[in-house]
Symmetry: C2
Subunit: 231 residues, 2 copies
DNA sequence: AGGGTAAGGTGTACGGCGTACACGGGTCAA
DNA sequence: TTGACCCGTGTACGCCGTACACCTTACCCT
């Protein structure tokens, strides 16, 4: 009499379903919309039910990072280390662009999960395979920082990109107090779109900086850099 | 009868006092402890009183960033651009180390305040004074990213730094799954302290990466880099 | 067959948060 | 005297994460 057959008795939750639902929710509604209550709603469940599968919200976020880290392509083989690292990081970037919330969440993690360590370990291994010394690899990882995940800070990315006329006005008053920023913005708007943040090609900027670092590391490596003998 | 003289009728709040108190509170108790209620308590006032001086918490955080940005030394004069930029950024770093919460807050701002624009503008001006093209300065600013504020992500910095014995055990099990991370950690611990995050000298890592970028930019500049002709 | 155990979903409740809104007292100009 | 204002107050709302006790269901062991 407890209607055993009309509702197909939804399959029980598990950690994987919770994490995937959380990623989907963050993808669609933004990370700020991700609350335990909202996520539970989305899964047709009461908030406290989630705590049977994740210890708390921090661990939920850890798990979400694992999900996106798992989407990064494995390393390519048969290329020189610089190209291989470059490709891998650009793959990470493509993943991060699919999950715009992820960069902030990655930064906010207190300690790395095994999946995150896997990625970092494999990246370090690619440098090592190219012959770089342990010390140089160490510094390389630090120098890359969050860029190894395919994102850069994008300080102040929220440019509403107004119409051309309003933009010209804005540029003019910018030029008064911030001439150097204004000239950059002006140059960028000539080429493409709007103000800084949209007027410049984020992908180009990312690759420019990545190559600056990788080229610099390659140069140090070629010249036999050692900790005691900088440059 | 309303005791007009026993309590010296505390001077009225103002935006500056609110911001300075917020900075002090974040310095002492961490950014997570900074709530409007707690800050109001600290100022001997009711929470809603703060809203007469800052529009909301976001604007409070903006103001706090302004306070710390104001502590950065002005540019030095008479040095070549590379040394000048380097010194300025290292000054920013010293400020940020005094306010450990600030890096996260800076990253979280949606759009720059005038004070923040001042700093970025002046940094761009230093590059320009060195003769770099507008485009190269543009890319330089992006490549620096948050590093222009003197910090790097410090992904996963929270290493409790246990005793040497426990560290050895940890290193051993690290070596099984993450050999390349383990060798870095091992090399770093030989030299100095504990695991990654403490075992390596953050200041050295920062300067290494900063110089890698600045040297790379200098090289591009020397070789007459233009947007169309990379490398 | 029966009873114990464990897994997994529920309901209620607590303390904290940011902040909208109406109010009150003080100061000062008209 | 009156009224406008500045600026601190009090109350209240809706959100958050999550502790804790509870109930149902499924399964295993005797």
């Amino acid at each position: 009499m407890t209607q055993p057959m009309d509702a197909p008795r939804r399959s029980p939750l598990n950690r994987g379903r919770v994490l995937r639902a959380a990623v989907a929710l963050a993808d669609h509604c933004g990370i700020d919309a991700l609350s335990m209550r909202r996520l539970a709603d989305e899964l047709g469940v009461v908030p406290m039910a989630l705590y049977k599968h994740v210890a708390n919200k921090e661990q939920l976020l850890d798990g979400m990072v694992d999900v996106v880290a798992g989407e990064i392509d494995p390393p390519v083989t048969g290329a020189d280390w610089q190209a291989a690292v470059r490709q891998r990081i650009l793959s990470a970037r493509r993943v991060l662009l699919r999950h715009p919330w992820a960069s902030r969440v990655i930064e906010s993690r207190a300690s790395p999960t095994p999946v995150v360590l896997d990625y970092m370990n494999s990246l370090a291994g690619m440098f090592r395979a190219g012959g770089l010394s342990v010390d140089l690899v160490h510094h390389a990882m630090h120098a890359l920082g969050s860029r190894m995940w395919g994102f850069t800070q994008e300080l102040f990315s929220a440019a509403p990109a107004p119409d051309p006329q309003a933009r010209a006005v804005m540029l003019r008053e910018l030029a008064g107090r911030y001439p150097y920023i204004a000239e950059i913005a002006a140059a960028a708007t000539h080429d493409e779109g709007s103000l800084v943040g949209q007027g410049c090609d984020d992908q180009f900027e990312f690759e420019f900086a990545l190559d600056l670092l990788l080229d610099g590391l390659a140069r140090l490596h070629q010249h036999g850099w050692t900790p005691s003998r900088p440059k």
